[in-house]
């Protein structure tokens, strides 16, 4: 984010005079770091001290609200609404920003286009007790890039740690607008973090966006605070802190030992060390007891809870609310009730499946004369979300861009059920497609709000099939089938729904004869086929000297159907036979655990891949379902490769063609690779056969085959004269 950004700082306050002046001065001193402007809003919820006066004196805008109307999420939403900065930064009243805080926050947003929130560490104040100081250091040390020793900013995306704290966090306004804080009693920041990551946003940790902040209390107040904290955790996320006498003693001893080690590192010795060791024992012990007690607070009488709680509040046990005088028998009958949860604002996952079950397919329009022959078509291509390097999407866009050049109008519709591309707008998606895959000319739409019909709507993945079946104003529906997707899943609803998509009455344009056989025989669907193309301008023999000891592995371990564990076993066997074996692994940013030395190439560009394929001896690309583009691209560069026998490769390459087929056995696979590397004649034969095989495989040919499939879709409609047979809706609607 290089453009100047305005920053609004929002500070909810109640009786916060102790640090408020220091906080506001620290923020306003950094105004020059916010090139787009800086404003500060203090929201006071009934302070009885000088908080409001301090805020006004400092020049902050002050909004006063009723104490009863305060809510952690609600009040912060109010703060965001009452400000206009591009970035909304939240601080608690006792968090003092350190110099460079705003600059670091803005730098955090610049780490990637999809960063929706940035947070920073909490540093102890000089008088913070060693136990708390150590905990803070240890906790935030793990957030920087490079782990505990790291000092660089880090990015987190879906699947990463969802920690986020409104003690010190900033949000991009459009991210907040999209999600807003939930109105929950506690942990609104954590809930927001989970929602934003799920919606496709990233968050960033910047070690320089630091604040001075530590909750330090005398020992008894610490215990009471832990009681409150764990009572809140039980209420919000249901966490119950375990407790056992032996384990508690063991844990406390361990924590005290860590505290002592930290104290020694920081110059504590003699009587000071002894005194703080005693405090540490009391602190850690009371924490253990009172956190467990807080988790079970609902079992305590309200009066006892109020005495223990630092907030002086009590919660009622489920069933007791509003009826304290109920007889024991009635109370028992009412005891089973849950925490009320509001209906989710997000649509149900795969809701198109439900809508299809309810309404059935949308009626089809009649095809026009000539649409089954040579009349230009409007093709609506419905795609699932994608990222750079997606092979299936590459194939789709290569083909569709050629259909455009052949005179057809193609529109692209991204069906993003889970919000994986929530941060990307259509123009951005379109440019990404052009830069990553193929030069498409048509427009890109997100969702179907602007749907305006098409001659043929094309599903391109199982998640898009039900949505396509529901689209109105269509003359035919086709399904570009790249793989048998039910096999991507363990036993699950996804596996069942993916299988159901072959029963929706569409015409299937399949990416191999193997796939066409499955769709026709197992599901009774109508099929035609297309062959993956090869970009010969990129993938061809360069004549560069080729090494004789190099296996190029498609090591995409995150995709189970690529059978990487089997390939690794085969390479271990092979390394025992060939001590000078060189292994290059590509296709995944993450390294793999291989018991032999190897070179990790990560995700490469097409040009880099072509170079590797021209350098390697044998490719090892396994597929437990349909074959992929990669073997063809390797063959085009003159490098023969090994795939699994008995699955899809025979249907494409033949039993003894350019691809050497191996049984599903690591030792046998090592033998196949070893033979191919050692037998020059066989290597040459397969290499030449591979180059000849792929010579006729181009994306132009693939596009012609897909066009023929689209024409067949309409021809079948003309022949049938009515809507295709499809699963009937389950309601009378």
């Amino acid at each position: 984010m290089s453009a100047p950004r305005s920053v609004s700082v929002v500070v909810p306050v109640k009786d916060g005079e102790r640090y408020l002046r220091e906080l506001l001065d620290a923020v306003l001193a950094q105004a020059a770091d916010a090139p787009g402007g800086l404003d500060v809003l203090v929201i006071d919820s009934g302070s009885s001290d000088r908080s409001v006066a301090i805020a006004r004196e400092a020049g902050a805008e002050v909004v006063e609200i009723e104490p009863a109307s305060f809510g952690h999420g609600r009040t912060r939403n109010l703060g965001a609404e009452r400000t206009s900065g591009d970035i909304i930064a939240f601080l608690t009243q006792d968090a003092t920003p350190l110099p460079g805080w705003i600059a670091a926050l803005l730098e955090g947003f610049g780490l990637a286009d999809d960063v929706g929130a940035v947070y920073g560490p909490h540093r102890p104040r000089p008088d913070t007790s060693p136990m708390i100081a150590r905990e803070l250091e240890a906790f935030f040390a793990g957030h920087a890039a490079g782990g505990r020793d790291g000092v660089s900013p880090s990015l987190q995306r879906e699947g990463d740690d969802a920690y986020l704290s409104n003690v010190n966090a900033a949000y991009r306004r459009d991210c907040w607008e999209q999600l807003r804080f939930p109105d929950v009693p506690y942990s609104e920041d954590q809930a927001f973090a989970q929602a934003m990551l799920a919606a496709g946003w990233a968050k960033a940790f910047h070690p320089d966006a630091a604040v001075l902040h530590a909750h330090d209390y005398p020992p008894v107040q610490f215990a009471r605070r832990y009681f409150d904290e764990y009572r809140g955790l039980r209420q919000t996320i249901g966490h119950v802190e375990g407790f056992g006498v032996r384990s508690a003693v063991r844990d406390v001893r361990s924590l005290v030992a860590h505290d002592r080690a930290w104290m020694r590192e920081h110059g504590y010795e003699g009587a000071q060390l002894a005194r703080w060791t005693a405090r540490s024992a009391v602190h850690q012990g009371s924490r253990k007891v009172f956190s467990a007690l807080g988790s079970r607070a609902d079992r305590l009488p309200a009066a006892v809870q109020r005495r223990i709680s630092l907030e002086g509040t009590a919660i009622t046990a489920p069933g007791d609310a509003g009826n304290p005088a109920a007889p024991a028998s009635e109370t028992a009958a009412m005891a089973v009730s849950g925490k009320p949860i509001r209906a989710a604002s997000r649509p149900l996952a795969y809701d198109a499946v439900r809508r299809y079950a309810h309404d059935g397919p949308a009626p089809l329009l009649d095809p026009l004369p000539g649409q089954d022959a040579d009349r230009p078509l409007h093709v609506a291509c419905v795609i699932p979300p994608f990222s750079r390097g997606s092979g299936g999407h590459n194939s789709i866009f290569q083909i569709m861009s050629r259909l455009e050049r052949a005179g057809h109008t193609v529109t692209y519709w991204v069906d993003d059920t889970f919000g994986l591309m929530a941060a990307d707008r259509p123009a951005r998606i379109r440019r990404d497609i052009q830069e990553w895959f193929a030069p498409i000319a048509g427009p890109v739409f997100k969702g179907f709000a602007d749907w305006y019909g098409a001659d043929v709507a094309v599903a391109t993945g199982w998640q898009t099939a039900h949505p396509v079946a529901l689209l109105p104003g269509v003359r035919g529906r086709a399904y570009l089938v790249h793989d048998h997707e039910p096999e991507f899943y363990a036993t699950s609803v996804e596996a069942h729904w993916a299988a159901d998509t072959y029963l929706l009455g569409m015409h299937h344009i399949c990416a191999s004869p193997w796939l066409a056989d499955i769709v026709a025989e197992r599901y009774g669907g109508s099929v035609s086929t297309f062959d993956f193309g090869v970009d010969h301008a990129v993938y061809h023999r360069t004549g560069a000297p080729r090494r004789e000891d190099t296996v190029v592995l498609y090591g995409r371990d995150v995709t189970p159907r690529r059978a990487v564990p089997l390939a690794l076993m085969a390479l271990k066997e092979l390394a025992d036979r060939r001590p000078n074996l060189r292994v290059l692994s590509f296709g995944d940013a993450r390294e793999i655990d291989l018991p032999v030395d190897y070179e990790h190439l990560g995700i490469l560009s097409q040009r880099e891949l072509a170079q590797v394929y021209n350098e390697g001896t044998v490719g090892l690309v396994l597929s437990l379902t349909n074959y992929s583009l990669i073997p063809q691209e390797m063959l085009a560069c003159g490098m023969p490769c090994v795939d699994l026998a008995g699955i899809s490769a025979e249907s494409v390459f033949g039993a003894d063609g350019p691809v050497a087929l191996s049984p599903f056995d690591p030792v046998a696979m090592a033998e196949v690779i070893d033979r191919l590397m050692g037998d020059r004649d066989e290597w040459r034969r397969r290499s030449e056969a591979g180059v000849a095989f792929v010579a006729g495989r181009t994306w132009d040919v693939a596009a012609e085959q897909v066009e023929a499939g689209l024409r067949e879709t309409l021809a079948r409609r003309m022949a049938a004269g009515d809507a295709p047979a499809a699963a009937a809706p389950r309601s009378g609607a």
Binding site: D174, P376, T409, R425, R428, R430, A441, G442, P443, V444
Partner: protein
């Protein structure tokens, strides 16, 4: 005996209607092509705005946005006026 040419008015009307439907379908197809091209062109132009999540509607709804825009237009008019004068003076 020679066959009389068909003069059934309903057939003629049907033929005319079919021709009209074909014409409308052709217009619709052309409209679809044009729409797609216009939207694609707009997306090409809007790329940087969308890339940086700049919402012009929201931007212009801010206080002071309209006066700022008007001021910009006036400055632009002055610049154009000066350019024209310069061109006339220099005979460019």
């Amino acid at each position: 005996m020679t066959a009389e040419p068909t003069t059934d008015p309903r057939e003629a009307e049907l033929a005319a209607l079919r021709a009209h439907v074909a014409e409308l379908e052709a217009q619709l197809a052309e409209q679809t092509r044009t729409t797609a091209r216009l939207v694609a062109d707009a997306q090409e132009k809007l790329y940087w705005l969308e890339r940086w999540h700049i919402d012009l509607d929201r931007l212009m709804a801010r206080p002071g946005a309209i006066p700022a825009l008007n001021a910009l237009r006036r400055v632009r008019q002055v610049v154009w006026w000066l350019r024209v004068r310069k061109r006339r003076l220099l005979g460019g």
